[in-house]
Amino acid sequence: MNHFSRRHFLKLTASFGAGLVVAAAGGCSSHVVFIARSRTPEPSPRDEDPMLGWVLITPEGDVRVAVASSEMGQGVYSNLAMLVAEELDVDFARVRPVPAPVAKQFSNPKMFGGQITGGSTSTAGYWQPMREAGATARALLLKAAAARWNVSVDQLKTDQGQVLHPNGKRLSYGELAQEASQLDPPWSVKLKSPKSFRLIGQPVPRSDTPPKTRGEPIFGVDVRRPNMVHAAIRHAPAFQGQVKKVVNQKAIEKRPEVLAVIVAERWVAVVATHWWQAQRALDALELVFTTEGRPAPSTSDQRLILLKALDDHGKRDLKGEKRALDLEYEVPFLDHATMSPMNCTAHVTDTSCDVWVPTQAQTASRAAAAEAAGLDSDQVQIHTTYLGGGFGRRSETDFVTQAVTIAKKVKRPVKLIWTRSETTQHGAYRPAVISRFQVALDEENRPHRWYNQMAMPNIFAFKQPKIPDFVWGMTGDFIGLDGAKNPPYATGSKDVDSLGVDLHTPLGYWRAVGHSHNGFFVECVVDELAHLAGEDPVAFRRRFYDDHPRHRAVLDALDNLAKWSQPRPKGHHLGVAVHESFGSVVGQVVELSVSAQKVVTLHRIWCVIDCGFVVNPDTVKSQMEGGIVYGLSAATRGEITLKDGAVEQSSFHDYPIMSMHEIPPIDIKILTSGDSPTGVGETSLPPIAPAVANALFHATQQRIRRLPFSRAGFSQWRAGPDFS
């Protein structure tokens, strides 16, 4: 079923088995229209059949829920299925999440432009439509039972997959699904009151956990298709580089295991029977690349360009200020370093293109595949696999274009897998940023002047080169400014702005995006201000949270959880940071000690989050832990550098990440507020770098204003001995 249109959708009859399908057309929660699909009594639907509705109930009573967000570790398959199961009133063990195909009705209401997993919006975005889908399916089942028993609907109840008659009779959802699918859905449904939730708010075990302990889930690299062959790829090392010459192409093509050598402008791929053979043949190719006439920057030049942009812009005059900061903070380019290298599997025919891909961006992947295949987008089917890490890297479509291009040439299903070094060196990097702060305290130690000018390449401008420059002059780099624009501490005159600088380096969305650096900048600057004012860092922050009740609640909870004011063992020091991102507020305290040899021991980390209404507290905790560890990797050692336009790092030895011995116990407390969920997946990352930097200052009197910490000689980290 490669074709989809609304008309087609409405008229569609059974193509995948018996049962009730509830579909939400539209995708915007305020305009949801539900339709029941009629089904012929065929065998149960097959796994590979695309779900076009949100909910499918089989005659056996099993429930499938279409999940439009990608499962990249955040537990979204289970959490979104929970929303449906809650309203449908069904045993969660009978519910199976199924990746949704690309279709308008699955667009994320909180992400413009289609199906995309990003911006920590999955639970927040699908919170309303998926509960409505569950409630609609339940309403139809009740109606079907009422008709069967000839009673009114309000005499009936449901209980865990069954409809109950007042006299004790029961009908299972499976028995009713066929009849329910013939009925007209209600125009609106009443959702449960949170007080009666049975699943939402509970630490419900994830359905993907048991198979993940057995190595069973199909990640992108695990896709197998009949007649499939394997491709390995090498890019021109420099970003602006091109393939100039392939010296021994004919000789390599003659190898019996090699099916094709494909030369594109910026890369060369070898297709072979097995991936290892393809990679070995690729290694044997003599390739000549060139960057002639195009920019090939190095990191040292790029720094000068950023600094020059700030100097050209000029400084504010802080004359007359008694206590002021006038300084720069700085972060480098970063790679996502997903555990699974980039990969994609494609099969292209004259009229169809199937793509099996670990992607965060189904809609964009479909467009990229259609363009590469020379087909219409409705001839393209995107099959989302499990993602071996995403963090923003898999919202790109470079690997989709490549796999489809190769598959079109060889006319067979092809699985393309990049090596680790290709993955490290041809990423979509978190921008390098230099951020200048000129901040002055008034008589009452309030920052009455807050000037923050940032020089950085603009991610969105890089992605949308057609947007003219004057637009950016008006709006600023609003993504890069995320988290810097409105700090709670700027109580007087304020000017926060960006200078867009093209550094000729590919850019991408990296976990927490603008917040990833602005959390570090702002929360370190505030700590410097507290020091300047001679105040306690927690008490100083609290003074500015009167109009920020969620910040205040998080800080107070953190104060209690970490026992901030209690004496610590000799040599132990604390650092604190609080940052709002993606609609949530997260605060962290770090306790560390530093040896004379600059070995840093992390003793414990405390973390408090207010993420609105909590769907699954255990997955929230997992994400807090994950974001802290991810942020620590970046803060302590993460740095992508360029030489002659190419990335110098290649794998985990020169782009290292945290390992077991470095991670201390992490204590987490979740606060709730409001009646709908806010972001989780990215929100614990921004505070960790400043919390550590602030603790390092208290331990060493050294202010580290440039990440990573390894640059300042703090290159050895370990966890404290007490894990209880």
Binding site: T213, G215, H230, Q277, G627, I657, M660, H661, P665
Partner: protein, 155 residues
């Protein structure tokens, strides 16, 4: 070359280029895909398997060394039921993306076979597999839980 070895307890015979790393023999020739490709340089441990009971990073070991030996992968770890580590991983909800977890479990199983009651220091020192999702605190708890379950099992 013709390779004969024991794979997850069963006699196996396969035709393969002896230089092909064990990882790719498993994944592309034998269709056992629980063992993952992470770096191809023996750095991350996503490809960890047991050769003669010892944890080994299969991406850098040519498959010819398998001749006459015994190899265990995540698919063969439990021998008919889940290994206590897999049960502990479920109880602690360890995995996030899950990509590194087969390797983590294989590394942890080798650790528990050597040391039934590992201290935190031993876990820190010997669990060197990388996890980009940051599941380390839960892996640590999972190992302790499985170690206790294994000790309790014994009379």
């Amino acid at each position: 070359m013709k390779l004969k070895f024991t794979l997850n307890g069963e006699a196996t015979s396969v035709e393969a280029d002896g230089e092909m790393p064990i990882l790719w023999l498993l994944r592309d020739v034998l269709a056992l895909q629980g063992t993952k490709f992470g770096c191809g340089m023996g750095q991350c441990g996503a490809c960890t398997v047991h050769l003669e009971g010892q944890a080994m990073r299969s991406c850098v070991v040519p498959c010819q060394v398998l001749e006459g030996r015994s190899l265990t992968t995540i698919e063969g770890l439990g021998s008919g039921r889940l290994h206590p580590l897999q049960e502990a991983w479920i109880a602690e909800e360890v995995p996030q993306c899950g990509y590194c977890q087969p390797g983590q479990i294989m590394a942890a199983a080798a650790l528990l076979a050597r040391e039934p009651n590992p201290t935190d220091a031993m876990i820190s020192e010997q669990m060197t597999n990388l996890c980009r999702c940051g599941t380390y605190p839960r892996i640590r708890r999972g190992i302790h839980r499985a170690a206790k379950a294994l000790r309790d099992e014994k009379p």
